[in-house]
């Protein structure tokens, strides 16, 4: 992971945990310990479309990703207290989260937002579901084969691609408005 740089394309094999607003609020604000060990894990910001096939058993209909910035404030706790190594989502994370990733040795991988159909085919199995009372914002244990292509959004060396693009866009905006005759 140390060799990854922003803009690189990666695919992922193995277990990825689905997390989201409601379950992260429960872990960090309501101080309920997560039901599974996240040390070394990859977490995906998501709440999937599923069909229940039995008690605790679900079939994936559409599993994509959601806007990570809503859960930005949980990044520190996930890295520091739970040893998470990768966060997956769309839209990127803040400058502060980028710094934390360099500090704790983690990456942000951009899942292509709105293109869940392809990702769903790469999902081999929904292995487990925790906290079903929060449906669909449960903690999901997914197993992927060839999940991607994912674009490295934040690397361990201070690169934060979506933030850089936005900052450049903000600078360009001042110039664009000037050319339009707008103060």
């Amino acid at each position: 992971m140390r060799q990854l740089r922003v803009g690189d394309s990666v695919t992922l094999d193995g277990v990825v945990f689905g997390v989201r607003d409601a379950n992260l609020i429960r872990v960090f604000d309501q101080k309920v310990a997560p039901p599974v060990d996240w040390r070394g894990a990859a977490l995906l910001h998501t709440a999937p479309n599923v069909r229940q096939t039995g008690p605790g058993k679900f079939e994936a209909l559409s599993v994509g990703t959601t806007t990570s910035m809503r859960m930005d404030r949980f990044t520190e706790g996930l890295l520091r207290d739970h040893g998470v190594r990768a966060l997956l989502g769309k839209g990127g994370l803040s400058a502060r989260s980028g710094e934390l990733m360099a500090q704790y040795g983690a990456c942000y991988l951009s899942v292509t937002g709105g293109a869940a159909a392809l990702g769903t085919l790469q999902l081999e199995e929904i292995e487990k579901v925790f906290w079903e009372d929060l449906m669909p914002e449960c903690i999901w244990q997914f197993r992927y084969k060839g999940f991607g292509p994912l674009t490295v959004g934040i690397d361990m060396h201070g690169g934060n691609l979506q933030l850089e693009v936005q900052q450049q866009a903000e600078q360009k905006t001042a110039e664009i408005l000037r050319r339009m005759g707008v103060k």
Partner: protein, 295 residues
């Protein structure tokens, strides 16, 4: 013209189908625009993202898959033909039941919760949801329903400002550009940027959303508004935000303006953004209960 007895159950079934189909089949004008935008990209990352978009669109169409996991807020734009005689309350109930049936039967993820306790009935409905906008067309004998499952990634990027008349049209241009750039990657660009100008605060926001359902390639009939649409469209695409905010040549698929007259001391402007898939599906229902689907 009175509607047939079967009319309301036909509407219920049509709304059920609208919800399910809208999530799987991306409108043809949008697909064409995404293809054209893909061809205009030069950077590797941007080309990769557009390729991913197009693969998912194709999977939705050919494998009957839901393209994006977000089933959104169910919103119906219902145009009632002036020649129809129907019961609005029964119509509303039928639309609501159709929404619930789509959710239970397919099944679809229910993305609708109560605002404070976050309770989910798993029906995609709740207090004041589905959202139904009614309008009327003189001389028509059909019910025209346009459905949009409004995704929250883009919906959360909604902005309203009560500008001063002294801020003028330049205030509008500045606000729109700054909000779209501030939204950045979050609404899944390239987006359709809907702009409302005038009205009251709530009408302004509704017009911004209505602007996003307009088919691509159409302009506001008022030449002044059309010129403003073009100017803002070009400006936004110069920012370089690109697909998924990872950098690129296309940040907006369209900029559409809807306007209304307003109070002498008001200058309201609203922005509503619609993500790259711009999901919408249409059903026209005749008084006799025949349905014709489209976009």
């Amino acid at each position: 013209m009175d509607v047939a007895d079967s009319f309301y159950s036909v509407v219920e079934g049509a709304c059920r189908d609208l919800y399910i189909q809208s999530l799987k089949e991306i409108p043809p004008d949008i697909v064409a625009a995404i293809r054209a935008a893909a061809a205009r990209e030069t950077r590797e990352v941007a080309k990769r993202i557009f390729s991913h978009y197009l693969q998912s669109i194709e999977l939705g169409r050919s494998q009957n898959m839901i393209v994006c996991q977000d089933t959104g807020i169910p919103i119906y734009w219902v145009d009632i033909g002036g020649d129809l005689r129907l019961d609005g309350a029964r119509l509303t109930a039928a639309i609501t039941r159709g929404t619930e049936r789509a959710t239970r039967e397919h099944p679809l993820r229910s993305s609708i919760v109560s605002p404070i306790d976050r309770q989910n009935r798993q029906t995609s409905t709740g207090e004041r949801i589905p959202i139904i906008h009614f309008d009327f067309t003189a001389g028509s004998a059909e019910l025209d329903i346009l459905f949009m499952p409004k995704g929250s990634g883009s919906e959360n990027m909604s902005f309203l400002k009560m500008l001063l008349p002294a801020d003028g049209v330049n205030g509008i241009k500045k606000f729109v550009l700054e909000q779209v750039v501030g939204a950045g990657a979050k609404p899944c660009p390239p987006t359709i940027v809907g702009i409302g100008i005038g009205g009251s605060s709530d009408l302004c926001m509704t017009m911004a959303k209505k602007a996003t359902i307009r088919p691509l390639g159409t302009t506001n009939p008022d030449p002044q508004m059309a010129a403003l649409e073009t100017e803002l469209f070009e400006a936004i695409n110069q920012t370089g935000i690109g697909p998924q905010g990872l950098g690129g040549n296309t940040t907006a698929l369209a900029v559409n303006i809807e306007s209304a007259w307003t109070h002498i001391t008001c200058n309201p402007v609203a922005v509503n953004m619609q993500c790259w898939r711009a999901e919408r599906r249409r059903a026209k229902v005749s008084a006799a209960g025949k349905v014709e689907f489209g976009f």
